[in-house]
């Protein structure tokens, strides 16, 4: 969402890149030979685990984008509790009717990992862009440097908004 806060700069960016896989385009399969992938979110279930490995394999540069991808952040707060207790709170204690529990294994709902992982716990990460969310100006500066063929440098920059 913070990426969309680039506002009209999105239009400039559209002239420079081909957005081949994103929640805002209809491609269903992660393509081969992607130059830059921004990955948001922590690795929380078996689908995430499979996807992040595929994405790493098919991306030249992989960026952990936002605090959940970088540190696990709020997503990883559930690691303080047993997964069973977390699921029971939502689907038993806070439900009047329990016709089933979404535990996975049905080919529909992915099983949750016992512990939420950072992206770097699973695959190699080339760059980290922190923030919850990363500030639009930081995103723009970062992407502009990558597109210009420079390695984005953190020195002298302010993060953490």
């Amino acid at each position: 969402m913070s990426f969309l806060d680039l506002d009209e700069r999105l239009i400039d960016l559209a002239g420079l890149v081909d957005v081949c896989y994103s929640p805002v385009v209809d491609t269903k399969e992660f393509p081969e030979n992607v130059d830059i992938t921004l990955v948001e979110g922590a690795v929380a279930n078996e689908d995430n685990l499979r996807e992040i490995r595929l994405i790493r394999q098919r991306s030249k540069v992989l960026v952990a984008f936002g605090d959940c991808a970088v540190t696990g952040n709020v997503t990883a707060l559930r690691n303080l509790f047993k997964l069973e207790d977390v699921l029971n709170r939502s689907y038993r204690e806070n439900s009047a009717v329990v016709s089933g529990m979404p535990l996975g294994g049905d080919g529909i709902v992915p099983a949750l990992l016992d512990r939420v992982l950072r992206v770097q716990d699973v695959v190699r990460v080339d760059y980290f862009l922190p923030g919850c969310p990363p500030a639009p100006d930081a995103i723009y500066a970062f992407v502009a440097e990558l597109l210009g063929g420079h390695a984005p440098a953190a020195e002298g920059r302010k993060f953490g908004t």
Partner: protein, 479 residues
């Protein structure tokens, strides 16, 4: 032979989802369902943390409507403190809520759904997105981007940050609003009004070409639930709950949102992380209801602002008392944006807004607090329990998209049954069919991260299942 089709990921929605279609032996659609595949567990992971931290933490449920979670959480905190907050604090919260409705609806209409509307629901998938729209109609897209920017800018001016603003908490807000900020807000109003008038004309002129979708992509009677003010008008921040049925009858009125648990309850299912709330007197699943823009316009008697009231009167003529076609969520969203801009302008002239009395101070006075508001996607409830030190012992979040989950399933089912084509080799899943299933869901603008308190983006997958449950075909966009 029966089979199951899976569409994954569902795109141009917020969050991760799949659609599954079960075909019977005759190759006809037996049932179709929508599944949400992400979960985070906020109701548990908040335990042991001070309730004052909740607006900041619960904001992270969602990157699109963080303001709603901040507000519901702040209001639950107000109740724990047992205070009435200062007028300036309430008006700042109202202002930011209107700004959020504006930016979130702009995202839904322009960035996510307008490629279907303007480029065509059968247009090639590789171009059917905002970048394709940029080539076709750059002025339309630029106006949409700037409407969202306006909403986000108001949130930033008041709250200090566009996403996850931390300015509001139990007892009020932490920043005074200035006249210089007012002047900047006012500069945006004429353009926003003009853009919305243009978008409304455009959508209405397109409706004739979407007649089949209006009639068969989520058209069914149901209950509708929303907040109204003391006169029965459109309300987003604080009011009572009204429920109407598909024929326009009022089923329940003047319900206290702080006692939601006496008339609403939730059901868990095994094939989705989303839960299904229902109206208790009607039972589960008969008591399912819709929330959000369509529901709000169905329950409200009037909008309370000039332009929105004109549009609302015309809107209500589309149904016999209640508009039941989920396709009209799009139109309802635009009317709500018109209303939001008018309310923002109105608030700029309110002297209360600028006061430096913005915080009611108190220590913990209750052990249970409930806050509700109208989020862009519908009615939102936060329910907290704390110990004597104000540390959270439990939470329940009743999220707008969850309340639409039964209706989304019904829409997907109806769409699959109506639009599936049959060729020489049985059911044919073409791109137009797949996109209609997704478009049926996009009407609700689901925020799947919110609904399961999850984070991350989810693609849509459609599976075609054989009678025995074997996956016969798994459809993705690239096939």
């Amino acid at each position: 032979m029966s089979r199951r089709v899976i569409i994954q990921p569902v795109t141009r929605i917020e969050g991760h989802a799949k659609i599954s279609i079960q075909l019977n032996d005759a190759g006809e659609v037996q049932s179709a369902r929508f599944h949400i595949t992400e979960f985070r567990g906020f109701e548990k992971l908040c335990e042991g943390r001070p309730f004052q931290e909740m607006p900041g933490l619960m904001s992270r449920v969602c990157g699109i409507c963080p303001v709603s979670h901040v507000l519901a959480s702040s209001k639950a905190g107000d109740m724990l403190l047992g205070v009435e907050i200062p007028a300036a604090a309430e008006k700042q919260r109202r202002l930011v809520n209107h700004a959020q409705v504006l930016q979130s609806h702009a995202l839904s209409f322009f960035h996510l759904s307008s490629p279907d509307l303007l480029l065509g629901i059968d247009s090639p998938p590789e171009k059917r997105n905002i970048f394709g729209l940029l080539e076709r109609d750059p002025d339309f897209l630029r106006r949409g981007i700037r409407l969202r920017q306006f909403g986000q800018r108001v949130i930033e001016l008041v709250g200090g940050k566009k996403i996850h603003p931390g300015w509001s908490g139990p007892g009020g807000v932490h920043r005074q609003f200035s006249t210089a900020q007012r002047d900047e807000v006012l500069k945006w109003i004429p353009e926003a009004t003009e853009s919305l008038s243009m978008a409304l004309d455009r959508l209405k002129s397109l409706l004739d070409s979407f007649q089949a979708e209006v009639e068969h992509m989520g058209n069914f009677p149901s209950l509708f639930l929303g907040t109204v003010n003391s006169d029965g008008g459109l309300e987003y921040y604080d009011g009572t709950i009204r429920i109407v049925d598909g024929a326009g009858n009022t089923i329940a009125d003047s319900l206290d949102p702080k006692r939601y648990y006496t008339y609403l309850a939730e059901a868990s299912v095994s094939d989705s992380f989303i839960k299904s709330p229902y109206y208790q007197p009607f039972g589960y699943p008969q008591g399912h209801y819709r929330v959000g823009p369509l529901a709000r316009l169905n329950v409200a008697k009037f909008a309370g602002t000039a332009l929105a009231d004109r549009e609302l009167r015309e809107f209500k003529q589309r149904g016999g008392g209640t508009v039941c076609e989920s396709f009209h969520y799009h139109l309802a969203r635009l009317i709500e944006m018109v209303h939001a801009v008018e309310r923002i302008e109105e608030l700029m002239a309110d002297p209360d807004l600028f006061s430096d009395t913005i915080q009611a101070k108190a220590s913990l006075n209750r052990r249970e607090g409930i806050g509700s508001c109208e989020a862009p996607r519908g009615t939102l409830f936060h329910h907290y329990w704390v110990d004597a030190n104000g540390l959270m012992t439990r939470a329940n979040l009743l999220i707008a998209t969850g309340q639409n989950s039964h209706a989304m399933n019904q829409s997907v089912d109806q769409t699959a049954k109506h639009f599936l084509k049959h060729g020489a080799h049985g059911a044919e899943l073409d791109q137009g069919f797949l996109n209609r299933l997704e478009a049926a869901i996009r009407c609700y603008d689901p925020c799947l991260s919110c609904s399961t308190h999850a984070l991350g983006q989810m693609p849509l997958e459609v599976e075609l299942l054989a009678p025995g449950g074997a996956v016969l075909q798994c459809m993705t966009r690239d096939e």
